[in-house]
């Protein structure tokens, strides 16, 4: 349940940017929003399993590097073609400069 995992240091990610985090055979994407909050989603696009961490973050949108599928990384909501399946999101907290995600 409360399986909090340390993903990175807060300073590892720039504002309005994203980083890949692999853990336990799974891959995640960790985001830092322009207003300095942290978020986490599954790491692969729901369209063709491309790593979203290679994509571009603009405001609260992550855009897939391959086919420009867009998701709101705060809610996981798919934002138009070619993606139609939402992205799974995970709770995130920052503790003593560390970014932790609950992957339970």
């Amino acid at each position: 349940m409360s399986d909090w995992v340390e993903a990175c240091a807060a300073g590892d990610i720039d504002e309005e940017d994203v980083m890949r985090f692999d853990h336990g055979g799974r891959t995640f994407a960790i985001y830092r929003s322009p207003d300095d909050e942290f978020f986490a989603t599954d790491g692969l696009c729901t369209h063709e399993k491309v790593h979203l961490a290679d994509g571009l973050v603009m405001d609260d949108i992550i855009e897939c590097p391959k086919h420009n599928g867009r998701f709101n990384y705060k809610t996981g909501a798919a934002r138009g073609a070619p993606v139609c399946v939402n992205l799974k999101t995970y709770p995130v907290k920052v503790d003593a400069g560390k970014v932790l995600i609950q992957i339970g």
Binding site: H51, D54, G55, L56, P65, H67, N68, A81, P82
Partner: protein, 409 residues
């Protein structure tokens, strides 16, 4: 408005347009007509994943369930044979007649045929899923594949064929591969990757003759060299499918000529995707025709909006990608608009060439590298191009300067 919307062509563009009409809340009849037996599907995998997979499957844009849920009527395996503009109706090859309020022609393009005699059953083209399955059956270890044309389809196919152990020869009449739209510096990286994987590339020599006896193809080059193959795949470009539009008297100009809102010379008929030429606003209205997946998708959606009266002009920047081996190429904009080049090196050998116009405006960016190494910067370049930005060349050339910071400027 009681007749509804009819879309001719059930590919990426037509499929997206049908879905977009529903997303926009249109509740009249939507009919999607396609000449293939399949659901609307994505074509890019045909020269890539579908070629190496054991049992290639269609990557559908919408399932039967989605089409039913959205009340999109999909008529497959049928051709549109005539448009009666006065009656606002389309006649199909099965004899039926579809009335329309607005008509969208998303008829796509078809492979350019090699204009010479001698081609037989062992000389094939790639456009449809059925074509892909037929080619896939020949891609086995030791089989000899001749790829005629060093463009994207041919090169992606060559990469797939090598992966399966086939012996591949690429024949390109031009002095180098990817002459159209790809800078020499990047074409060279792709050329080297193919050679390293064992592909034989023959450039600068045209084909003198072809003999195909149904079991083997013999290609003789102008210089006398002879290439024997079990299968020859011809990939020498594509031509827009305009017959239906031309017979209906619509203006044709390197494709069905449309305005910035994708409207043809008949105000109730739109055209989008590979089949149309349109004024590209980002280059001052230069008329172009694009053969690209994203363009098909975006124009399908834009046509849907304008069929419903949005009056929205096309504003996108062309964008294109190709995958070969572990390399991915991405191009934003049209590089022939550029007069000078600035190179930006990224990690892992990846790099981007920025193409600048005489006045310093960024007009295109071409990048290549492993995986998706260039994706983010190409996307940012695309936005800079769309903004008519004139970034400092030294900033573009320095990896230390984030492209995102130039966007805000």
């Amino acid at each position: 408005m009681a007749r509804g919307m009819v879309i001719i062509g059930a590919g990426e563009c037509g499929g997206r347009a049908a879905l977009a009409l529903r997303e926009l809340g249109y509740d009249g009849a939507v009919t999607l007509v396609g000449d293939e037996p399949h659901l609307p599907y994505e074509r890019p995998p045909l020269s890539k994943d579908a070629m190496v997979s054991e049992a290639p499957e269609i990557k559908a844009i919408a399932s039967d369930a989605i089409l039913a849920e959205k009340s999109i009527r999909h008529i497959h395996s049928v051709q549109a044979v005539a448009i009666d503009r006065a009656a606002h109706a389309v006649r199909l090859s099965d004899g039926s007649v579809l009335p329309y309020d607005k008509l969208l022609l998303a008829t796509g393009s078809t492979p350019r045929k090699l204009p010479m005699p001698g081609l037989g059953p062992r000389c094939v083209y790639l456009r449809t899923f059925t074509d892909a399955l037929a080619i896939r059956a020949h891609l086995t270890a030791g089989n000899r594949i001749a790829v005629i044309g060093g463009g994207f389809i041919g090169l992606e196919l060559a990469a797939a064929a090598r992966k399966l152990g086939a012996a591949v020869t690429v024949i390109e009449a031009q002095p180098r591969i990817l002459m159209r739209g790809v800078p020499a510096e990047i074409a060279e990286i792709i050329h080297e990757a193919h050679v390293a994987e064992g592909v034989k590339i023959l450039c600068g020599d045209g084909i003198a003759s072809i003999a195909d006896d149904g079991k083997e193809v013999r290609v003789t080059l102008a210089g006398g060299q002879e290439i024997s193959a079990d299968l020859a795949v011809v990939g020498i470009g594509a031509v827009p499918v305009t017959g239906l539009a031309a017979e209906a008297g619509l203006t044709i100009d390197n494709g069905i000529a449309v305005d910035a809102e994708l409207r043809s010379s008949d105000p109730d008929i739109f055209a989008a995707g590979d089949c149309c030429s349109f004024p590209l606003a980002v280059y001052g209205g230069r008329r172009v025709r694009l053969e690209a997946w994203r363009n098909a998708q975006e124009q399908g959606a834009l046509a849907a909006r304008n069929m419903l009266g949005a009056g929205e002009a096309h504003a996108a920047v062309p964008w294109f990608w190709s995958d070969q081996y572990g390399l991915s190429l991405q191009i934003a904009g049209l590089s022939d608009e550029g007069r000078s080049i600035v190179r930006r090196d990224l990690d892992d050998g990846a790099f981007i060439l920025f193409h600048l116009a005489e006045d310093g405006r960024l007009v295109a960016a071409s990048g290549i590298g492993p995986g998706n190494a260039v994706a983010r910067d190409i996307r940012l370049a695309e936005m800079l191009i769309g903004k008519w930005a004139k970034p400092a060349p030294e900033a573009l050339g320095s990896q230390a300067v984030k492209l995102k910071s130039l966007l805000a400027a």
